[in-house]
Amino acid sequence: MNSSPDRRLARTFVTLADTLVADFDVLDFLVLLAERSAELLEVDAAGVILTDQRGGWRPAAGSSERAELVELLAAQTREGPCFDCVASGKPVTGADLATDTMQTRWPRFAPAAINAGFRAASAVPMRLREQTVGALTMLNHQPVDLDVTTIEVGQALADVATIGILHHRAASRGELLAEQLEATLHHRTVIEQAKGVLAEYGNLDMHDAFTQLRRFAHAQQRRLSDVAHDLAVGALDPADVTDQPR
């Protein structure tokens, strides 16, 4: 890597570290991480899935909320690089999903990804001590062989994501990770409910609804999860959040 990506990388880590303070919002952090991962790794899309601690995996954040990426992240909780990655605890790369090998390995995911416009997909594990708690996935519109450096940087970003879930609270209790993982998935559900409120009120697609939700939270300096909660329970008027006139 030349120095310009190094500077961007360093700035990204500083930004992520800055978010690890009071008023920290884990989902906002993971969305930021997914967006920055896509930029830094020079891939077209990135996403994070987390364990639901009951045998399955759930999408937690993506570099975009466009339906095709959202669907593909959900699909990766059952088959694909993320699924293989969390099973093995090691990075998994799929340089060209159109090949016979990939179509055989991932008979549902590979065609779905290609249909969604992605020809390459990889994943690195999010690990804490001996446990794999999730994965960071990278997707590309063109076939691409991610080099070792990219995978290493991806792994570093995934490690930051894992620490972010524990954030600044002392990890003296082993239960803390289990509690935080469940709470993260709960906040994700609330965000989906809030997206529905904004999408209906402003006649928006889900990606735009999420963008406006985040923009409002940042502008008001409120936690993303709190704004989502208030929208979903009716304590916050969607008219105040969207910039669409009714």
Binding site: Q53, R54, K90, E179, A183, H186, Q193, G196, A232, G234
Partner: protein, 289 residues
């Protein structure tokens, strides 16, 4: 590795058509990458292993097919004791949904496997603090393997819970995003953390309890048990949309969606998809178009 033991019959999960050797059931397996290309090992095996715990608990819950929600919740409390290995389990669940403009207090029904658990449910409501209250504030379970280790956390609840006989408490909110349906609270009479399998089982049982409460509130049971464990999010988005369309609470929106799915004989997921893609709207003045 292929065997004739049938896999779970969940027709939406990854386990369809896969099988696993009996000695692998219930175990998590670390796999080397070179194994992952083989259809006989690896991904499929893990998929069946993952679905196994849920299928097993669900089968234990309704062995004779009865689905009265109240008795299901009581049975879930009993299963917590036997499967999660706790001394007792209690649940306080909503008996009626909130209406817009309604009071903040909602009536709840208490189910408990023993008098100590019933006492703990009562205690949390009386003192207004404790793991159940914190669980809703935090958005997730509160797991306390040793109550005595942090006596300052709940100055009213802590000592009284210990006096009742609780040394460890584990509280699981029953919720679907902002839709709050109750709480499942487990205790042990000796300190001790849940193992990762016990945590998995407790989370699955909490999910089954959430199903039972929504069935109770809807007034009908549904055979579609995957909509909570399904990673697709359109159900939650549809709740938000219908909330605005009808001008009701999220709780009511969820129940209306479920009622519509039930009366039309379609999975909730499909109804949610139609709402999100705007081919189905809920109108406050008449039936959905």
């Amino acid at each position: 590795m292929r065997d004739s033991v049938p896999g779970p019959t969940d027709n939406t999960g990854p386990a369809q058509g896969w099988s696993v050797a009996p000695y692998l059931q219930g175990k998590l397996i670390n796999l080397a990458p070179e194994h992952l290309g083989c259809r006989c090992v690896g991904v499929e095996v893990r998929g069946v292993v993952d679905g196994y715990r849920r299928q097993r608990l669900h089968a234990l819950l309704v062995p004779n097919g009865q689905s009265d929600a109240g008795s299901r919740i009581r049975r879930i409390c009993d299963l917590c004791v036997s499967e999660v290995e706790v001394s007792g389990a209690g649940a306080t669940v909503l008996s009626e949904i909130r209406e817009p403009g309604g009071s903040g207090h909602r009536r709840g029904l208490v189910h408990a496997s023993n008098p100590v658990s019933a006492g703990l449910e009562d205690l949390q409501l009386t003192v207004g603090e404790g793991p159940c209250v914190d669980a809703f504030a935090a958005g997730g379970p509160i797991l306390i393997p040793d109550l005595a280790a942090d006596p300052t956390r709940w100055p009213a609840f802590g000592p009284q819970a210990s006096a009742l006989g609780a040394s460890a408490v584990f509280s699981f909110p029953l919720q679907i995003g902002v839709v709050r349906l109750g709480s499942l609270d487990l205790y042990r009479d000796r300190p001790g953390a849940l193992t990762s399998d016990q945590l998995t089982d407790a989370l699955i049982l909490a999910e089954l309890a959430t199903h039972a409460v929504t069935d109770q509130l809807n007034g009908h049971a549904t055979s579609d048990v995957t909509w909570l464990s399904d990673p697709h999010v359109e159900v939650h988005q549809a709740v938000g949309m219908v909330r605005v369309q009808l001008g009701v609470t999220a709780d009511t929106a969820l129940l209306r969606l479920r009622s519509y799915a039930y009366s039309h004989g379609m999975p909730l997921r499909e109804i949610a998809h139609r709402v999100v893609t705007r081919t189905l709207r809920f109108d406050p003045n008449d039936e959905p178009t």
